[in-house]
Symmetry: C2
Subunit: 114 residues, 2 copies
DNA sequence: ATTTCAATTCGATATTTCTCGAAATATCGG
DNA sequence: CCGATATTTCGAGAAATATCGAATTGAAAT
């Protein structure tokens, strides 16, 4: 995770509307273990229209939400996959894990006190 | 940590210059355990001028760095304390811990699959 | 008190970003 | 093919942001 990539993720999450979208997707797309193999898949598969409805309360898709989804996707925070007429949105769990590690890990010291 | 507060932190970290400042402070102000009581204090105490020098390579303090430090401080990510003629900068460890938890914790599900 | 050093504030400018509505694209069903 | 639905792209305007230099504050030293 290089510097620019990290800053882009934070910038994407720095907008209130995008943060709401991201949190909705996180809450919505929680993984669930299935079968004995313990395989994991998302239970709900929200479309752009559903994101739109939940986040802005609008009944039709706003270009604004589309714009924000693209930003989140460009930042590597969410995934979008075409299914028929719709786009299915989900969080990129690897990215979330990297961000968790970013804050949880003590950085290399630069003051010789390590 | 409410929504706006969270977004403000991410917005603050979303600027490349501010992220560099933040990472410098994190690396610089690593805590060190001292004595038998295990008390912890920062080893280096960077001033605004030092941040400036390290981050932008400038020899004198730029108003830009001052501006970015204020943003980071307003977002609750860093602390600044006056000492004599200088301001000593440090990261707010509680805030970093909250952000680590933010990404490490599975959110409440909204799809009835919990 | 005056000078000096550290840092912030101010004013202006250039750039970016958010938002909205209209038009375009793509896919499905009849 | 045509119409309906889902989503993206485009164009424009308003608002926010980053940056720079100059002026200002505040504390310390002389």
């Amino acid at each position: 995770m290089d510097h620019k990539e990290t800053a882009d993720m934070f910038k994407a999450l720095g907008d209130p509307t995008r943060l709401r979208i991201f949190e909705f997707l996180r809450a919505c797309c929680c993984p669930v273990a299935l079968g004995e193999e313990g395989e994991v898949r998302p239970v709900e598969e929200p479309t752009v229209g559903e994101v739109c409805c939940r986040v802005t309360g609008a009944t039709k898709i706003t270009s604004t939400v589309s714009f924000h989804l693209k930003e989140l996707r460009n930042a590597g925070l969410i995934t979008m996959e075409k299914r028929g007429k719709n786009m299915i949105c989900g969080v990129d769990r690897a990215a979330v894990a990297r961000l968790a590690a970013y804050f949880a890990t003590e950085p290399e010291t630069s003051c010789g006190c390590g």
